[in-house]
């Protein structure tokens, strides 16, 4: 796999995350269910362009979070994330 011009960082999707969560999610640390690596949501790789935000592990490229705005609301799928740690100071 190679990173290409379409790759963005997790912080690029902070707006959509911010509509859903009261805490600043880009500073929260997620553990990838595929490889076990932990990293800030803001440091994940984001794909999907205008269709939605597909967050992929910066280490192994597995999908950790999928976030889509539809006509019915916002869909949030986090099955690729084993654990999420939110520092209280950033809440």
């Amino acid at each position: 796999m190679e990173r290409d011009a379409l790759t963005l960082d997790g912080n690029a999707a902070a707006g959509l995350l911010g509509e859903l969560f009261a805490i600043e999610m880009t500073a929260a640390v997620a553990t990838c269910d595929a490889c076990g690596t932990s990293g800030a949501i803001g440091g994940a790789r984001v794909y999907g362009g205008e269709m939605g935000a597909i967050f992929r592990c910066a280490t192994c490229d597995a999908v950790i979070v999928r976030l889509v705005r539809t006509s019915r609301g916002i869909s949030f799928d986090a099955r690729g994330m084993r654990c999420l740690v939110v520092a209280e100071a950033s809440a």
């Binding site: 790759t7 963005l8 859903l20 009261a22």
Partner: protein, 252 residues
């Protein structure tokens, strides 16, 4: 599947910004000084979403980095005009003092530096990627931080260096800030800075070494960010200390 209706947190609600002043930074880059009545304050490195509604009801939304320091009295965003873009030609060329549009933010808590985090601080900017890093440098200056800081700023040509004069002023304060410019396409006669893209030799030669565990912030076009982050990681910098913000092809 169940669904709940979403009411956005207050900081994510749209409000109206009024353009108080425009500053042309380079021929393609303009800063907008904004009045936002209920601005909640921000941290250096965060961005805002701006939403335009056209005369025909068409709406378009983009994210822009905040250029001003949290301590500054005015909120400023700095926008590069992308010729075939949809929103940036309006914001970076057509907009006039007194114009109003929707804004929300601040957004993002990852690509953020505040003085108590300390340093050394190692900033790498490509083109308009300087904008969130400028907010960090302005913040650093306004709180009188002496954090040892290096900025490597890559631009195409001398006239295209965004914030050139202000960076020069900040660098002469002798408070621990070093600014290194590299010009990738055209260099003026007698140019003493870099004359190529940011590469391994440059990052090894003038960069802050891994042993000093600098906090690294890289912002710019995806290829520059990708390459700089990879090289720094290979040089031995802790990946958790390397934070990146890629400017993707979002249609400007």
């Amino acid at each position: 599947m169940t669904s709940a209706s979403v009411a956005a947190p207050p900081r994510m609600q749209w409000q109206i910004a009024t353009v108080r002043a425009v500053v042309d930074e380079t021929p393609r880059v303009r800063s907008l000084i904004l009045d936002v009545p209920e601005w909640p304050g921000h941290r250096a490195g965060q961005h805002v979403d701006i939403r335009l509604t056209g005369e025909d009801g068409y709406r378009a939304q983009r994210s822009y980095s905040i250029a001003s320091a949290p301590e500054a009295p005015d909120l400023a965003v700095t926008i590069e005009r992308i010729d075939d873009g949809e929103v940036s030609p309006y914001l970076a060329a057509n907009v006039q003092v007194g114009d109003r549009f929707e804004i929300r933010g601040p957004i993002g808590g990852y690509f953020v530096w505040t003085a108590p985090l300390g340093g050394p601080l190692f900033l790498i900017a490509g083109g308009s990627g300087i904008v969130p890093l400028m907010a960090m440098l302005r913040h650093r200056a306004l709180v009188d931080s002496k954090t040892p800081t290096l900025l490597i700023h890559s631009s195409r040509g001398f006239e295209e260096i965004i914030f050139r004069n202000e960076l020069e002023r900040l660098a002469t304060k002798e408070d621990g800030l070093t600014v290194y410019h590299t010009l990738t396409r055209r260099q003026p006669v007698g140019w003493s800075g870099g004359a190529r893209r940011i590469d391994r030799d440059m990052l090894t030669g003038i960069g802050i070494p891994p042993a000093m565990t600098p906090r690294i912030y890289i912002c710019g076009p995806t290829p520059l960010v990708e390459s700089a982050a990879r090289i720094l990681s290979e040089l031995g910098h802790e990946p958790g200390l390397i934070k990146t913000e890629r400017f993707g092809p979002t249609g400007g």
